[in-house]
């Protein structure tokens, strides 16, 4: 018995405007609403609606035997609500089939685990509440932004009560073992790890339309052979990829939808194979070994580490600065401020600042709304400057209000005023000065 476990990542960042130095203090809308809306419409029509419909057909056709999982970032959910509620409705329809699992992630699709456990936990809980609200599921399995993972993450998630966590199956940590088993991080007693089979996943996500590839064009028949060939040498093939693979990264004319349409039937033609969601996989198979990762790994770029987001000083400075505002942001108690801050924490902003200009540079460039990584940093830091000031001002006002309130309280105490007539006057003038 072997499982094929599909998980699709759905995410769209809130892209920032080309926010100039002269906008600081003058313009407080940081988002490029036009571009965000445009991209959302484009991807909704080319990928989300189209693929969701196909998934729904496949689930119905296979009567519960085709099962999949999604992780939808809070940023994507917010933008669905804002721009394309029809996309959200189609995901809800999928959830209602009972064949679709929704995973947990950080609300802002952020790097928060690296910077602040407190903020990480807050975002994970916020996201889980949204998933419950929209899809009536409480996530049991977590996937971190771009599959960023290490032992600490697994152990921390265990303490938060999660059953499983997704990770890239990184060769240097697998030590010649197969990614096609369930593993466990050292120190973990309950939580288990599902490792991405990056060869088979990337055959679909990256190589599918590559005409220079020896297996081009890839058919469902060929692919099912590769999966079936693993019978006996593994228990679960984890196919993890961006959902935008379907129709956005791989265009319709590449035949990607035809491929997807025929894949479930082809895989299920072997009696030992089934489709299972992450939670089902964790129930079906025990851990077969320890997957020991001290450094942070991810599914990004050829390095599969954090270098896509944090390898140069601009990325480090920008992320350090924005995370350093955590307590001030919460101090405002202002939900709008929190919302904007979350949108600034999205990992994509730091990805755009990446200066690795080999192979992967092209990928960064493809996704970046800016002309260069330097522009990305410049605009981000200008936004940061305005945001920092706004937060500071709000906190100052708040502090003054509190002071004024305590003076008011003081003024209602009559004793001192009765003995010292000037005391009453002093209180009323300073209260007036504070609130003005």
């Amino acid at each position: 018995m072997s499982s094929v476990c599909f998980y699709f990542q759905v995410h769209q960042p809130y892209r920032l405007r080309t926010y100039s130095f002269f906008d600081i203090g003058n313009q407080h809308d940081y988002l490029d609403e036009k571009k965000n809306e445009e991209i959302m419409h484009k991807v909704a029509d080319k990928c989300y609606l189209r693929t969701n419909l196909l998934m729904l057909e496949l689930i119905r056709k296979h009567q519960g035997k085709f099962r999949i999982a999604y992780s939808i970032s809070g940023m994507a959910l917010e933008q669905f609500e804002q721009y394309r509620p029809d996309v959200l409705a189609s995901f809800i329809e999928l959830a209602e089939t009972g064949c679709v699992e929704f995973l947990a992630e950080t609300h802002a699709h952020s790097l928060s685990f690296i910077y602040s456990r407190k903020e990480f936990k807050r975002q994970v809980n916020k996201h889980a509440a949204l998933i419950k609200r929209y899809f009536n599921q409480t996530p049991r399995v977590f996937r971190n932004t771009e599959l960023i993972f290490n032992n600490d993450l697994a152990n921390y998630l265990e303490s938060m009560g999660y059953d499983g966590v997704l990770s890239e199956g990184v060769d240097r940590h697998l030590d010649a073992r197969s990614p096609d088993f369930v593993y466990q991080a050292p120190g973990a007693s309950k939580i288990k790890c599902l490792l991405k089979n990056y060869r088979l996943s990337d055959d679909i996500a990256f190589r599918f339309s590559d005409k220079g590839w020896s297996h081009y064009p890839l058919t469902a028949d060929t692919f099912k052979d590769w999966i079936h060939a693993r019978a006996g040498s593994g228990e679960v093939v984890n196919l993890f990829m961006d959902y935008e693979t379907f129709g956005e990264h791989q265009w319709e004319d590449s035949g990607i939808f035809e491929f997807l349409k025929h894949l479930p039937e082809a895989v299920l033609s072997h009696p030992d194979f089934s489709f299972n969601t992450p939670t089902e996989v964790l129930k079906l198979y025990p851990s077969r070994g320890v997957y020991d990762v001290h450094e942070f790994t991810s599914w990004a770029d050829t390095e599969r580490d954090l270098s896509a987001w944090l390898s140069n000083p601009m990325q480090q400075e920008a992320s350090r600065r924005i995370y350093s505002m955590e307590s001030q942001v919460h101090q405002t108690g202002d939900p709008e401020i929190l919302k904007i801050w979350e949108r600034l924490l999205t990992s994509d902003h730091f990805y755009y600042m990446c200066t690795k200009f080999w192979n992967d540079g092209d990928v960064h460039k493809y996704f970046s709304p800016y002309d260069s990584p330097y522009d990305a940093y410049m605009y981000f830091m200008n936004v940061y400057s305005d945001f920092e000031q706004t937060v500071k001002l709000l906190n100052t006002f708040k502090q003054r209000e509190e002071q004024a309130a305590s003076l008011q309280a003081e003024s209602s105490k009559v004793d001192r005023k009765r003995v010292f007539p000037n005391y009453a006057r002093a209180i009323s003038t300073s209260t007036a000065a504070l609130v003005s």
């Binding site: 100039s20 130095f21 002269f22 600081i24 203090g25 003058n26 140069n312 000083p313 601009m314 480090q316 400075e317 920008a318 350090r320 600065r321 200066t355 260069s372 330097y374 522009d375 940093y377 410049m378 830091m381 200008n382 940061y384 400057s385 305005d386 920092e388 000031q389």
Partner: protein, 429 residues
């Protein structure tokens, strides 16, 4: 001594609106001021229609072809006016790539002959790529045009037009004046290379040199071996701007840098100064306006030094945006390694901003009241800036002195000094 209006054939390269260098501004304002005392014919590589200027004949080579050149000169209506010269980023001759061929006048003369009299000036290939070809093409074409022109004196600006000046002088026997706004030595820091050789040869051939500062005159004497006896220093003027003040969009004070981000302008020194100031005085932001090949390394270094919240790069700015920046600034800092003049410091002074400027600059001569430091002494610059930020009385005194200094310079003063120098050096016979 002849008192009639001298007829000046001016050879120029770039014109406003240009943000990345002072040459275009200086050429434009200077020649305009000279029109009251001289008849000016200005030849530049490129003009376009729509920008007229009085009392001056302006010829853009792109407007002419060989067959119609005579018409263009005799028929006023066919002459394009003094026009706006639009310049692309890669057109800037000061950051051009020069091929490493050795300098040779013989070779250049041969190329002039090859180009011949009837070659159309090919604008598409004028900028970017092989700058030497463009300089030779310009020289050959202008020399050909000059055969039919009536003039008393040739007045060339900087290295791009020197070769043309040499050819015309040889053909016409008229005196050659070279105005020096900027030198290869300033830009590269070394006295060698093709452009250096051309500059040296041109200045040797010239009858009179007009460096924009005593600082530049010293550089010419020291690194080009040319006697100061054939130099007349002409300080630049200032364009009249209406200064205004604005409050900054943040609570901190602002220290401003304006200029091309190239080695010559000392951008890394500015960053070092910023670090030193911020170590002692937190309530200040540093703003760098301009683009150039140091842009990305400065941004990265500022992030690396963890100055992201206090160090801003604006990228390219037009004149109005630049003035908005002057309007909010509290200190202007110019840490140039070698600056023949430094017009932007004058502009800062016009906005009553106290200036902290490198001693290795010409503008230091016309702003004696400003605070000066050797460009490598970033410690001292930082001390000055901290004092200006903390002591409003001191800042007020420094900026007030600068405004007084400004009364000593203007384009009409520069223009009349030029005409006087033509006469003093007996070039108008």
């Amino acid at each position: 001594m002849s008192q009639k209006r001298p007829k000046v054939l001016m050879l120029g390269w770039e014109f406003p609106p240009i943000i990345n260098g002072g040459l275009g501004v200086a050429c434009h304002d200077l020649s305009q001021a000279m029109t009251s005392m001289a008849s000016i014919t200005m030849v530049i590589p490129k003009t376009s229609t729509g920008f007229q200027m009085d009392n001056m004949q302006l010829i853009g080579l792109n407007m002419l072809d060989a067959a119609s050149k005579k018409n263009a000169f005799t028929d006023k209506a066919a002459t394009p006016g003094f026009e706006r010269f639009t310049i692309d980023a890669d057109l800037n001759p000061y950051s051009a790539n020069i091929s490493e061929e050795p300098f040779s006048m013989e070779k250049l003369r041969q190329r002039q002959k090859d180009i011949g009299a009837d070659t159309r000036f090919d604008l598409d290939t004028l900028y970017g790529g092989d700058v030497i070809s463009k300089v030779v093409q310009y020289a050959a074409r202008v020399a050909e045009l000059a055969k039919d022109m009536d003039f008393d004196i040739i007045h060339a600006h900087d290295w791009m037009t020197m070769l043309a000046g040499i050819f015309i002088k040889e053909a016409s026997g008229k005196p050659l004046v070279i105005h020096i706004h900027s030198l290869e030595y300033d830009r590269s820091g070394i006295a060698a290379g093709w452009v250096y050789e051309l500059e040296k040869h041109g200045m040797e051939m010239a009858d009179l040199l007009m460096p924009v500062s005593h600082y530049t005159a010293d550089v010419i004497a020291r690194y080009y071996g040319i006697s100061k006896k054939k130099m007349a220093v002409i300080h630049n003027g200032t364009s009249i701007v209406k200064p205004f003040k604005k409050s900054a969009p943040y609570a901190e004070k602002t220290v401003l840098f304006v200029g091309r981000l190239t080695r010559q302008k000392g951008p890394t020194h500015f960053l070092d100064i910023a670090s030193a100031v911020l170590a002692q005085h937190k309530d200040v932001r540093f703003v760098m306006a301009g683009v150039g090949d140091y842009f990305s390394s400065i941004i990265e270094k500022s992030a690396n030094d963890k100055l992201g919240n206090r160090f801003h790069m604006t990228g390219f700015l037009n004149t109005n945006r630049l003035r908005d920046l002057f309007a909010i600034s509290d200190v202007y800092c110019m840490p140039s390694l070698s600056e023949p003049f430094g017009l932007s410091a004058v502009e800062a002074a016009q906005f009553s901003i106290p200036c902290v400027i490198s001693k290795q600059s010409g503008v230091a001569e016309v702003l004696p009241g400003s605070l000066k430091f050797d460009f490598w002494d970033t410690r001292k610059a930082a001390d000055y800036i901290i004092n200006l930020l903390r002591d409003p009385v001191f800042a007020q005194k420094v900026s007030a002195d600068a405004v007084l200094n400004l009364n000593q310079i203007s384009w009409p003063i520069a223009a009349s000094k030029i005409i006087d120098a033509y006469r003093d050096f007996s070039l108008l016979n």
